[in-house]
Amino acid sequence: MKNLLSAAVIGLGIAATGQAAAEPLKIGMITTLSGGGAGLGMDTRDGFMLAIKQAGNKDIEVITEDDGQKPELAVQIADKMIQSDQVDILTGIVWSNLLMAVAPSAVAQGKFYVSTNAAPAALAGEKCNPLYFNAAYQNDNLHEAMGEYANKDYKKMFIMAPNYPAGKDSLTGFKRYYKGEVAAEVYTQVGQTDYAAEIAQIRASGADGVFIFLPGGMGIAFMKQYSQSGVKTPVMGPGFSFSQDVLPAIGDAALGVKNSGQWAKDLDNEANKKFVPAFQAEYGRLPSIYAVQAYDAAQLILSAAAKADVKDTEAFRAELLKADIQSPRGKFKFNTNQHPIQDIYVAEVIKEDGVLTNKIIAPVFTDHGDAYAKDCKM
């Protein structure tokens, strides 16, 4: 299973500004390229590589390996990348449980970790680390946004997530901002594919809205089954369940679903207007939220590498913290715990030229950080 997928040395040289290192900067990307979660990993890899390619910096080398969504495999790959490949920065992990297995030990060995997606509460609060950066969000953010949004029209919500750390964070985040009544709080099995029992409970609960956090195949299965069940209670959720990688598989059953995100394809800013067509031209599909997060992670690393040598940890960290990038998300800066402060929107799934996609309907949070930053002492 341990397949080296690509070892890419990219691009034509440009005269790097400042003190370009004589040795190339080595980035180890560990992401999920096989199994049910592979779509997320491929968008992560492709978004990241797009930024690297656009920069055309020949002093940057990216080594990519597949973790198969298995924590033990991710740990092995990280050890190998740190010890024999001698990478300077690790990135790419999609899942929080894998990140918790890899990132704390990587930063303890003096390597940078820049997260493209996973953002467990632990690493945002007490266990924050100067070498750990998150370019995506904090896990709770998008759920918090849905909770805030639900306050407007919904009095009684049925909320549901898989029974694992990110699932618990999700419902905690939702309830942090939601002021109405919670009809029921249901935890499903991770990887569950049949939701008939839960849909029956939704029908019986008398809730006026349903909040789900069911990433990947779980969300596809739920939405298809829900649309056939005759239950008409509106569904909402964080953007993961309705991002560009899963919408085609859900089909029209997703139409009208409200979902939160820190980015959408139609976000009006210069960087986004360049990013979306560039991604489409390169890979022949629309980018997802994962691709944007990875694209920004790569931009952050590139921006720091242009000004400082990665071997000089303090200087490199200071450059990363400046977040001197043009993000397709628009505004982007780092909080004290090195997680983003950004705007969060609610979007609606629509059909545009026969393709399902998201359209922003309202901003929910402006310059939103996270609830854990106050526990982070650096």
Binding site: E185, T188, Q189, A196, Q201, G230, P248
Partner: protein
Amino acid sequence: MTIALAIEQLLNGLQLGVMLFLMAAGLTLIFGVMGLINLAHGSLYMVGAFACATIAAWTGSFWLGLVASLAAAAAAGAIIELTVIRRLYDRDHLDQVLATFALILIFSEGTRWIFGSFPLYLDIPPLLQGAVALPGGAEYPLYRLAIIAVGAAVAIGLYLLISKTRLGMRIRAGESDREMIGALGVDIRTLYTIVFALGSALAGFAGAMVGALQSVQVGMGEPVLILAFVVIVIGGIGSIKGALIGAILVGVVDTLGRFLLPQILAILLPPAQAGLMGGALASMLIYIVMAVILAVKPRGLFTAHG
């Protein structure tokens, strides 16, 4: 809890059970007749789902897709029987597990290579869309009722095939004594290929039926495979009747557990904790049931070999 909700949940359990039966029947048949542990059974389920999704997307007809799923899974089954499985009958179970595990990897990565990593779209045919009203005021998706009906038809069909036809007679004879029926002039190699293709077709059919409800993606077969193994261990390895009873037992216990345990715990605990604990316990429930049944009847509920 209302009567309508109880009826709906029981039907859900029954539907899950019937779907598991389609998987478990093939698995137990192959084990019973050939003594082979086939881990790649979940891959054949995936092949069926992908074949159905592809043909349905091409032709616009779910029904043609369903036919294609049967054909593709049976063909894939026959091909791996002729090329790989055939060499494993005389080996011990460890070799079989290793070789069929390798087949899982080959099928998964092969499918990814052809179709990519993103899930495919497969929808329920228009004829079976929507929900129907049940007595007691409940509504139930028509498609799930159709799955129950199809599963019942397959169960009856398999019963007739095995107890009333010449092929069924040979299958039963093969289960009892494979050397003897070879000596009596039955072409045992062809028989094995037919049984394997039949089991594969059932798995592919289940994959296609379920694919319309869930997501058609690489690796979709493995979680179902684990449940199917639980079913055949509970039912008694090699017994079709055991597979049917075991599947319905697992389906109903799993569904009701997921639904009732959090509610029972909510009497004692705050709702959030009850949801967490109940969810965790519910996911263990079928394994607990399996352990209890094995403690009482170590060879399962119905043993095929007397």
